[in-house]
Symmetry: C2
Subunit: 124 residues, 2 copies
Amino acid sequence: MNRRNTESTNEILAILKQAKSALNHEMIQERASVKMDRATIYRVLNRFCEDKLVHKIVGDDGKQYFAFCTNCQEKHHQHNHFHFRCTECGKMECMQSEVKVPLPDGYVVRNFNGVISGVCSSCV
Amino acid sequence: MNRRNTESTNEILAILKQAKSALNHEMIQERASVKMDRATIYRVLNRFCEDKLVHKIVGDDGKQYFAFCTNCQEKHHQHNHFHFRCTECGKMECMQSEVKVPLPDGYVVRNFNGVISGVCSSCV
DNA sequence: TTATTAATGCGACTTTGTTGCAATAAAGAA
DNA sequence: TTCTTTATTGCAACAAAGTCGCATTAATAA
């Protein structure tokens, strides 16, 4: 299953890199210069997740957001940081601080999904 | 807008109280002894949220879960605790520990939505 | 240039959650 | 009790998110 270098792939990755925040499929479609099918966008994004180029966050609006991994080392692709979703402008920002949550013994963590929503400083 | 005492309302509240974890609409429907329409369930749950009897969490599966507020004081209906969603049994548990996330100046918090998913100790 | 097969577009589909509207029924008034 | 008001419900329709199958397209290597 070798990956191929396609226009959609490059465009989506470029959009995510430039955005510096997490985007949902609609935001990506808006920013794209070429038309891409919804199914294609999701397939590209899920491929990126598999390849750990990107991480996925589910917002408290129930939508999937995807963000380019900047400061994630290949070694531990952990994302124990929060995201802030502004309900005014829709921006889903990465908060830098890492969070540790104590869990009972025997619990195995697979995914961390922390979202705080409210109003960002630009939208006050 | 006075609230009325109906069978659906009582049943759903009883189910949530007994569950001691957060349930989605499907789980509630399964446990209910009477048939209730999906729309009714959501309307009842959203009313409970308004009345702060219940709090809502959106899982990393994109679904809405509702939990009866046990140790929430009426004074500050804040829910800065995490929930653990077991991908095996589906249970969405409240973790007791409260979490503080530092936000940049000027950010206003409206909602805290922290979910960790993985496998719980019963499902190892 | 050709063969292989990953990637795409399209359409259909599932699920979640919401809304409008008519019918029902809870709660207070008479 | 009976009547009136209006909150609540069920049903149907709908919107949006996300997935999947399949035929077509096109990137890569031979």
